[in-house]
C-alpha cells in the first residue's frame, strides 16, 4: 500500500479516483458486517488499533468518523470548541494504524461563515487521510443556503452535495438531509436525492457492504426534537436487499445505536459539546456539564472492517 499523501477528497477529484484505483482489488464477497459499539471509554483507542499488520492482498482496513466539530462555537457548553477539534485531530494523527479514510458527518462549522470554514479546513488538513464530508444544518445556514459549503466540498457531488464512492469493496454513500427542510417536519432527503440513490444502488451487488453517512439520523430517534428524517423510509426500502448496511450520522452529539434487520444505525459523539439524551431536557440545546466531565462526552469513532466474516468493530472513543 502506498504511503503517498492524500489531500481532502472532492477538492480536485484526484484523490477519489486514486482511492477507487487502490480499491479495485476486492469485489466484496459478502463480508459479515456486524458492529460492536459503545465500547467503554477506558479501552484506549491506540490499544484497540495496535492492530496486526496488514497482510498483502486481503487486508482489513479502518476508517474513521469525526462529527460536529462546530468550529466557531464558544458558548458555555464548551468555550474552546476549536481546541477540542484540534485535540481530536491530534488523537487521530497519533493512531498506530492509519485510517484509510475519514468521514466527517457534518456541522463542520457553527455558523457557515467563510472564516469558520477556512479555520476548519486548516485544522482538519492535518489528518493525513482523505476526508469525505456531508453538511450539517450549521454548514447550510449562510444566505446562499449551502453555497459556502458546496464551494469547498461540493465539486463532483450531485444536487445539494450527495455522492458515493467505493473503498476495498465497501460502497460508501454520502447523503445530505439538511437542505430545503419543510415547516413542521424533520430532516429531509427529497425526491431528487432519492432518485439518485435508487440509481446509485442499482449497480451494486446485494452482497456489497454498504456504509451510508449523513448528518441527521436516518431513523427517528426523537420526533419532538426533530431527530429523524421525514422520508428515510424510502431510502431504507432501497437498502433492504443488501446483506449489510451501516448508517452513520452525527447531529445529536451522543452515541445511540439501533439495529433493524440488516441495517444498523449509529450516531456519533461531537468533538465540540454534548447534547441531552432524547427527552431528558426541555430542549436539545448544548448540554452544560462540569468542565472535568466534558472530555468524557466528546469523542471520535473508529470502524474496523475485516474481510471474510470477522466482526467489524465500531469503537466509540471519548477524549477521557
Amino acid at each position: 500500500m502506498g504511503n503517498e499523501p492524500m489531500t481532502d477528497d472532492l477538492d480536485d477529484g484526484m484523490s477519489r479516483r486514486r482511492l477507487l484505483g487502490r480499491c479495485a482489488g476486492w469485489a466484496g464477497a459478502g463480508a459479515l458486517y456486524t458492529m460492536t459499539g459503545g465500547v467503554a471509554s477506558s479501552i484506549s483507542l491506540d490499544a484497540a488499533l495496535a492492530a496486526p499488520k496488514r497482510a498483502g492482498g486481503a487486508r482489513p482496513f479502518t476508517f474513521l468518523q469525526i462529527s460536529d466539530t462546530h468550529i466557531g462555537f464558544d458558548k458555555a457548553a464548551n468555550p474552546n470548541a476549536r481546541g477540542t477539534a484540534i485535540e481530536a485531530v491530534e488523537k487521530i494523527k497519533a493512531l498506530a494504524d492509519k485510517p484509510d479514510l475519514i468521514i466527517h458527518t457534518g456541522d463542520i462549522t457553527h455558523l457557515s461563515t467563510d472564516a469558520q470554514f477556512d479555520d476548519a479546513a486548516q485544522i482538519l488538513s492535518g489528518l493525513g487521510a482523505p476526508v469525505f464530508y456531508v453538511p450539517g444544518e450549521h454548514d447550510f445556514l449562510d444566505e446562499g443556503q449551502g453555497k459556502a459549503f458546496l464551494a469547498r466540498y461540493g465539486k463532483g457531488a450531485h444536487g445539494t452535495g450527495w455522492y458515493s464512492f467505493d473503498h476495498d469493496g465497501v460502497h460508501f454513500v454520502a447523503l445530505n438531509n439538511v437542505a430545503n427542510l419543510k415547516p413542521g417536519g424533520m430532516a429531509h432527503l427529497g425526491e431528487e436525492q432519492l432518485a439518485w440513490l435508487k440509481s446509485d444502488l442499482a449497480g451494486q451487488a446485494s452482497s456489497t457492504p454498504i456504509v451510508v453517512f449523513g448528518h441527521i439520523p436516518l431513523w427517528t430517534v426523537y420526533e419532538a426534537w426533530g431527530w429523524g428524517t421525514d422520508d428515510s423510509a424510502q431510502a431504507l426500502a432501497l437498502l433492504r436487499r443488501f446483506g449489510s448496511v451501516t448508517v452513520l450520522n452525527g447531529h445529536i452529539h451522543q452515541v445511540i445505536q439501533k439495529v433493524e434487520g440488516n441495517v444498523s444505525f449509529h450516531s456519533a459523539r461531537s468533538t465540540a459539546y454534548p447534547q441531552p439524551a432524547p427527552g431528558a431536557a426541555p430542549s436539545p440545546g448544548p448540554l452544560k456539564v462540569p468542565a472535568e466531565q466534558l472530555p468524557s462526552m466528546l469523542g471520535i469513532r473508529t470502524a474496523r472492517f475485516v474481510r471474510g466474516g470477522e466482526p467489524i468493530a465500531l469503537i466509540d472513543q471519548a477524549f477521557a
Partner: protein, 119 residues
C-alpha cells in the same frame, strides 16, 4: 343655482381634504407613543408565544436567546431572517391582515404563527 351648488361642493371638498390631514397628524403623534410592537422569544427551541394576534402595522421582533442559531422563515417565504445567533434579533412589520405561518429552517419542528387582524 348651479353655480352656488358648485361652490358648496368645492367647500365640502376642501373640508374633506383638510379634515383627514388633521386626523393623520394626530394619528402620527399617537402612534409614536404606544407604538404597535410585539416581541417573540426564541427560547428552548420554541417560539414564545407560539401564536400571536396583532393589529395591522405591528412590528414583531424575534430575539434568539438560545445557544443554538435559529431562523424565522415564513412558510411561503414572504419574509425570512438570516441565521440568528445568540441575542440576534429580527424584525418584520405586518401591514396586511392575514395569517402568517413561519418556522425555523434549521429546526423545522419549530413553528409559529402571526395573526394580523384589525382591532
Amino acid at each position: 343655482m348651479r353655480l352656488k351648488f358648485s361652490i358648496l361642493r368645492r367647500a365640502a371638498l376642501v373640508a374633506a381634504l383638510t379634515v383627514p390631514a388633521v386626523a393623520f397628524t394626530t394619528a402620527k403623534i399617537e402612534a409614536a407613543t404606544p407604538a404597535k410592537v410585539q416581541a417573540v422569544a426564541i427560547k428552548g427551541f420554541a417560539f414564545t408565544p407560539q401564536v400571536v394576534t396583532v393589529a395591522p402595522g405591528t412590528t414583531v421582533t424575534w430575539t434568539n436567546v438560545d445557544e443554538d442559531p435559529h431562523t424565522v422563515t415564513a412558510n411561503d417565504k414572504s419574509f425570512h431572517s438570516a441565521a440568528l445567533d445568540t441575542d440576534d434579533k429580527f424584525t418584520f412589520t405586518f401591514t396586511k391582515p392575514g395569517e402568517y405561518a413561519y418556522f425555523c429552517s434549521l429546526h423545522p419542528h419549530m413553528t409559529g404563527k402571526i395573526v394580523v387582524k384589525a382591532g
